[in-house]
Symmetry: C2
């Protein structure tokens, strides 16, 4: 039997109670919890692998694709890597208690805007069981209780991993929703009295399913339709290196480029060499008329290609008349994730920086740097393309709220 309707609420209520204790837990105690979780992952590796084998067998019987089976698979090396990641998170600075801002009011009141945990964070994820531990570690370090809801294909693996984390964490701080159905998801997403934030990690289908029912505030680690724009004044060698890196270094991730835009003045000089290099790297090219006039081997781009996150070695290529046309194209078709301009012209860089509406705007750099690790945040739970609260990498600080602490000497309002 799946978890009954009542028990999702019960899990959340237990997490809420735990969150009160976690909020004031000293950093050293939180770090000790994380190290104990890492130790337990190593000690209990055989148990984890056994549970994982049961998931894998069920997955093969259910006809899961090779890609999904790979994402589901754990081995000793992967478990050791998960444990190492937990220790890395323990080593990060504690965001709780940071004073973000502080000032004295004219009446003498001292105001300190101080970072606090959010409280209870729910994470809904698909396939990869390592997320169970990564998400729990990030939430515990930031003083939050966590309610996990993984996919049904990883039920056995997630159960063991969550049990390991729960055993080492303060009582109630790590909760796992046992049922994998849409009903449990809807119930979790409507616990706005008990859950402060819900983060879906998965495809657009999961996000859509949640948007329609959620009353809990949501931040989604969203898709990225990212662009590289090569300006008239670009260093063309740097531009070629950047689009190659952005498209091919890891094509299946959200900060990979999906569209190359080139200013008409350099299209003739830039495109033949760049497209050859991209093709040699295995990239399928789809271009507009002006691109195809330069390189007839390029396939015809479809209107929908401009809006597609290929997550594969496919690239849409277009020629534009100006930096403004590039900005307009990016704002119309982009998903607000990571957008790059390559230029030597100050005015073009400034126009692009100011005009593009995205979490990360790059000047003469690859879009691939949008990442909590690269940004020095240490670890992330995803990249947000929303504009509220967290935009870009969601690290420990983004898993926090704040409170104003106001100190007076008997102050009353006149």
């Amino acid at each position: 039997m799946a978890t009954t309707a009542t028990s999702v609420t019960d899990l959340c209520r237990a997490a809420r109670a735990a969150s009160r204790r976690l909020a004031t837990l000293p950093t050293a105690e939180k770090d000790a919890v994380l190290h104990r979780i890492a130790d337990a992952l190593l000690d209990r590796t055989p148990e984890i692998l056994e549970a994982n084998a049961r998931d894998l067998q069920a997955g093969r019987e259910a006809g899961l694709s090779d890609a999904l089976i790979d994402r589901l698979t754990l081995d000793e090396g992967r478990i050791a890597a998960i444990a190492a990641q937990v220790r890395d998170i323990a080593a990060l600075p504690d965001p709780v208690g940071e004073v973000i801002d502080g000032f004295r009011l004219p009446n003498g009141l001292d105001v300190a805007k101080t970072r606090t945990p959010l409280g209870v964070v729910a994470v809904v994820y698909e396939a990869r069981p390592n997320v169970t531990i990564d998400a729990a570690a990030l939430c515990l370090k930031s003083g939050n209780a966590i309610v996990l809801r993984g996919s049904s294909s990883a039920t056995q693996s997630n159960a063991v991993l969550a049990a390991i984390a729960a055993a080492e964490a303060p009582e109630g701080a790590v909760q796992l929703v046992a049922g994998g159905g849409r009903e449990e998801l809807a119930e979790l997403a409507t616990q706005d009295d008990l859950v402060d934030l819900i983060i879906p990690r998965g495809g657009e289908g999961l996000k859509k399913a949640l948007v329609d029912v959620a009353t809990v505030p949501m931040i989604f680690a969203a898709s990225g339709n990212c662009h590289v724009y090569v300006d008239a004044d670009a260093d063309l060698d740097a531009a070629r290196d950047i689009i190659l890196n952005a498209k091919t270094q890891r094509p299946g991730v959200c900060n990979a480029a999906e569209t190359l835009l080139v200013h008409r003045d350099v299209a003739g000089a830039f495109l033949p060499g760049a497209l050859r290099a991209l093709r040699e790297a295995g990239v399928e090219l789809r271009g507009d008329e002006r691109v195809r006039a330069i390189d007839p081997e390029v396939a015809e781009v479809a209107d929908t290609d401009w809006d597609t996150e290929f997550l594969a070695l496919v690239l849409a290529v277009g020629v534009v008349d100006s930096v403004q046309e590039a900005i307009d194209h990016v704002n119309r078709h982009g998903s607000g994730h990571s957008e790059a301009i390559v230029t030597g012209a100050y005015a073009a860089a400034r126009a692009f920086e100011l005009g593009v509406d995205a979490a990360c705007v790059y000047i003469n750099a690859s879009t691939r740097f949008t990442d909590g690790g690269e940004f020095g945040f240490g670890a992330e739970i995803g990249n947000s393309t929303q504009k509220l609260h967290a935009r870009g990498p969601i690290g420990l600080r983004e898993l926090c709220s704040f409170k104003y602490v106001v100190r007076g000497d008997g102050h009353v309002r006149g």
Copy 2:
């Protein structure tokens, strides 16, 4: 006819287009817009009053309460005050372009976390037509386009006020949803492709109606069930002044106190005088058994009173055994708005500050200071009790998002 289904989307689409231009509008131009709006409000006062008179007549015919009629009423003085508020907002610092954080990565990339407008903000409000202009001015100053949806009782007044703002603002930047029905509200609240934030300003009914349908991220200016806790080590004169101020200075607002908690060690010394002063100020008192043992004139408190935002001269009073019991009470019954402790003891102050989960925690000061004006934010669109994005006063900065601007020299990821 009310606005048709299509046209809410059309309004939002026009606002989205305008938001692109607003995002890069220089501060001086935004301020000039605001001063032109203030001028036009004064110039067109007769027209506003005429429209308002039609709303008032319709309201009286519909049997609106005196309180609602008062909230709906404009006169020359009130219009002049609205215009003055617009000029005050023009005088505030522009939040757009502020660099919130900045650092150089080990690879030499320079990252600047820079404040940007959110884009399109929808404000849904009840009765008071002045919100039309206040909200529009705050959004324009922070570089956002605004979609307004007022109550049907203020249709005529809002139409004139919104037209005045729209005429002076960049084309499309100020939109008013004409229809006041739930259908238009639901359509507005599900424009997640076009609207970045929706702020309800009104009662719990409006909030609930929105939570259930909204797919647009929401921040609500919420209710406040605020507490004053008088600790064993409190200066009892200061404590009396603070609870009097917090309860009676303006009882109908969200940062007024609704519950007084007193440590048992000072209940006998504190309560008789404090309750007398409160009663003399017209406050109806409802206490627990220990309070009534000290002052039998106090009525019996009902369980539901602890959870009630009276917004009136009514106060629940309880005796607690410890600061921890006070903290637990506040976290169980409070709405996370504004909570105060009165104490001379460092340990109690620190426990309360760390343990209470609220937007604003006061030590030896009245809860009444939670206010954008008091905090030096200049103006606010409400006070948030949510934990994401904005908590406490929602001022110009809270109406903003940010982007990471990353500057390199041909950087690619290895």
